[in-house]
Subunit: 575 residues, 2 copies
């Protein structure tokens, strides 16, 4: 289990500070993550990787020559925010554009895509490649739904090497996608990892058994089996991956036998002995394999086998030199390594623009701040309970995320209000702060909801009518659905938010005043949130305990209902 | 726990084969271990490190440019045999002599010293430096008794860098001793590791507690405490190590924060953050620290802090480039790296010389083979029970070691007998095979006993009398005590062997025939072996459960009594 921490809430910050201290000769911290401490060469594409932390050496450990230019560092197993990705991308990018690459998880997809949009809006050509190597996570017919596990390492390395070689952005993106298309991984797990401060593992595997196809956070796999002999495990992994050999690939491969944290080097070498024999039996030539800990999952027990079906280009890029805190290969060319020392270490120009609003809008903004304040109090009170129900089928960090998000939102909103802003600017400031500080999936979704509401309310003109508010809430729901892609019945926040909105719109249309309409909508959505207990999650980063989550309401729907309730009180009594 | 293996008995061989396959571009297997796959440069001292396996990257992972020339690889947590050390030393040595370095453990000290003697006899100048960095294992007044833990890494690195720089053997030895004198480590453990095939950990620490000062195999420490916050642990480690600051050292240090296997990178970085601050507060300047897994202990949970109090020479050698399978630093000079590819990969000239014996000695040798055969059968039968009682205060591998040793001994003895040898040559062949195949402490000791007995019996002349046999057994006991340094009452084989010998000598002196005298001596030693249950171990590699071993007889004394019994049957009935 994870035993060493000061405060579980500052674990990632403490970890990052320690990492940056040890490796201060080669990397530098920036808001949201880590970049090389040399400037990106003019004409060189920047490659920025990332995702939640807890996977060291992935991802901050591979920032360096021939590999990544930067890593966005989220909380443990939680996507970094779009703001974080934007910040690291901005710090890393030179004159030739930017490639983001992450594993294919809902939160990462949303946040890195939002950051990409923002950078493109600023004139920075930005691409995103999501890694989908895990053969167990979806059938071949739905490869795009597969998650990224140890194959991340391959795609990031190949993209980094291509950028170092001088590929332009189109070509770096092309070869990263190509590497992803040629990379397949199958993993097994023997025991779950424990989050800092938790007193039980995130998931469990019965003693003497193994979960086959489990992801790097304990996501569901394809089955469970008795723990086999090392040679039989090798057979299982090799045949599982070879069954997915991409069409048109030849007989040269590289292989990664990756330990997830507590399956140690000696065991990996024992398994590798058999893997090497089996691959040779298949007539495959193995080029520069890696056996060790590359993409871990805290103290999870398990391992995975990755095969990369090489062509000349992929082989050259795989073999290219690299020099990073946690990974080195070959000899880094001294000339290319001698880039200028970084002078600017971060771009802090990320503050939301404050526009003064009309008097009426400013008054509305005051109510919004009160509403956010009430939400923050409600979340602080509900934190433990939300964590408990989220842990049934998730990370158990929903309560913490909502507290971080709402408290950041109310602080930013109050600053904007004090600067004279109207409703839209206050909500934008609140949404950006929420997404930026909470990270993860709920952070980016709530950020989008608040921005959506704000867009419809504007900063000017009259005080919004009940109908304006109902319209604005509807816009917020649309933003959520556009970004999160969840449908009604998927056991998400949508299952509370959609009936809430429908009721609010109907009540207002039939002439009910805003406070009463909001209260009625809250009542409906509380019932709907409770009813999510009967549902089985169908989207997002599902967990092996997803089946068990029947009987427990969804944490996101529950927190939505609690927030709606808190706002109802504000509207009823004023503040 | 260690879950992945084929056969626990072949774990080390399987591991080594996998390691050698992955790293075939840089290392080559030789009998007993691993060497670089380039020839040692003329004029360059060879540095050969080693010890039991289970500590990866130590020790085979650090064979390469700027670090070790070879590693002797024992079974898990078991010293390699003198034969293994001799073989790897012979394969690695060039024209400028050899430095062996290992942690200061009884088995390693015996085996590497024996190998050193043998190499010196062959005209190869050989030195041995035993690492003693663990401050918890003995008081400052008895530094020479301290064991080597993560400080191994430092001493090996410094010696390797010095050899690469062109130091002569005297100077490499001097600077290795100096590095050892300037290196201090304190470790803590949170949970024990599990040997391949075992169903319980080697030792346990109660949940929420930590053992302070535990060695890398769970040897006893200085105390037990509640598991602290990361910052408090940092404080404890820093103050513990700084209390041992060597006289005359300055304010420049390097530091290793080493994870033992399942205390992961993220946790280590969190602890490092505090360690770095505390060291800075003390006015120390930290040069090129390492935070990660350097000297592990299978899946043990825990970490250690090593400080090296630098001077200019140590700092230069610590910073010198290195390029090994598991560890790289700086840029290896291409010129020095371009040594000739190794052509000879091993020196197999290690067969015992067979000398034809006199007819009478040959007849005696026939009885000796029968006696060894009976011992091998007895050990095969007692393997599990010996393992069980050894596990109370040791690795639990004594039964396995005795089976490996006796079966190898009888096979080698039979070959020598068939070649016409006398008693001495048969016993020498048997002793060498025993020590070579069994490894560990009991292997080397039994090897010395058989050689001692053989030396006294000779290959020529008449059949030995009862008195000659008693004298020979006495010589065997002397060899054991000279090498093993254990005294009566230390809860070792000596507690059975000494009374056995005394009784045998007395009975024979008073005119009893050999079969009856041997039987009487066996009776006495069986009682004595049983009585070791009342003793507490005082020598060798003690274990945290040493106290608990009161009530359980010593495994070595028990197996000695069983062997004596088996031989008594042979002498009584003939074979």
């Amino acid at each position: 289990m994870t035993r060493l921490y000061n405060d579980p809430h500052t674990f990632t910050d403490d970890m990052l500070a320690g990492f940056l201290d040890v490796h201060r000769d080669s990397v530098t911290g920036v808001p949201g993550g880590v970049v090389r401490n040399t400037e990106t060469r003019p004409g060189k594409v920047a490659v920025v990787v990332g995702g939640g932390s807890g996977h060291y050496p992935a991802f901050c450990g591979v920032v360096g020559q021939g590999f990544a230019d930067g890593a966005v560092v989220g909380n443990i197993f939680t996507s970094p925010s779009a703001q974080d990705a934007y910040s690291v991308g901005k710090a890393a990018v030179g004159t030739a554009g930017l490639l983001f690459s992450t594993g294919n998880y809902a939160g990462d997809v949303m946040n890195f895509t939002l950051a990409q949009e923002r950078l493109i809006n600023e004139g920075i050509d930005t691409r995103v490649v999501f890694v989908t190597d895990d053969v167990a996570s979806a059938p071949t017919s739905e490869m795009h739904k597969r998650r990224g596990i140890a194959g991340d390492f391959v795609v990031f390395k190949v993209a980094g090497a291509a950028a170092e070689e001088g590929y332009d952005l189109d070509s770096v993106e092309r070869v990263a996608r190509h590497a992803n298309d040629r990379t397949r991984t199958l993993g097994v797990a023997f025991a779950g990892c424990t989050m800092p401060g938790a007193d039980a593992p995130l998931f469990t595997v019965p003693p003497g058994r193994m979960g086959v196809g489990l992801g790097i956070h304990g996501e569901p796999g394809v089955g469970e089996d008795a723990l086999p002999r090392a040679a039989d495990l090798a057979q299982r992994l090799v045949s599982g991956v070879l069954a997915e050999k991409p069409a048109g690939s030849g007989n040269r491969v590289t292989a990664l036998l990756n330990g997830l944290g507590t399956t140690k080097y000696e065991e990996l070498f024992v398994v590798w002995r058999s893997v090497a024999g089996l691959l040779a039996d298949q007539g495959l030539e193995i080029v520069a394999p890696e056996v060790g800990e590359l993409v871990t999952s805290l103290d999870m027990a398990g391992c995975s086998l990755t095969l990369v079906f090489l062509d000349d280009e992929l082989e050259r890029l795989w073999l290219a030199p690299a020099d990073t805190p946690a990974y080195r290969k070959g000899r880094v060319d001294v000339a290319s390594a001698a880039s200028a020392r970084r002078t600017t270490t971060s771009d802090e120009s990320t503050t939301t623009v404050i526009r003064p609003g009309s008097e009426e809008s400013h008054a509305c903004a005051r109510t919004i701040v009160s509403a956010l304040d009430a939400m923050a109090s409600a979340m602080a009170q509900a934190e433990d309970e939300l964590g408990r129900i989220d842990a049934v089928a998730g990370d158990g960090d929903h309560g913490r995320g909502m507290v971080k998000g709402t408290s950041a939102a109310v602080a930013a909103a109050r600053d904007a209000l004090n600067a004279g802003s109207g409703a839209q600017s206050v909500l934008e400031a609140a949404g950006d702060a929420w997404a930026g500080k909470a990270g993860g999936t709920s952070g980016v979704l709530w950020g989008a909801i608040l921005r959506g509401i704000g867009e419809r309310l504007g900063d000017d003109g009259e005080a919004p009518s009940a109908s304006d508010v109902a319209d604005a809430v509807q816009t917020g729901l649309l933003m959520l659905q556009r970004l999160g892609k969840a449908q009604l019945g998927d056991k998400t926040m949508v299952d509370a938010f959609a009936p809430f909105t429908e009721t609010l719109v109907e009540c207002v249309r039939s002439g009910t005043g805003l406070p009463a309409a909001w209260l009625e909508a809250t009542r409906v959505c509380e019932t709907a949130a409770q009813a999510t207990a009967d549902l089985r999650p169908r989207v997002g980063r599902a967990r092996p305990l997803a089946e068990l989550s029947i009987g427990t309401p969804d944490a996101g729907a529950t927190s939505f209902a609690l927030c709606a309730h808190a706002v109802a009180d504000v509207l009823k009594y004023g503040r």
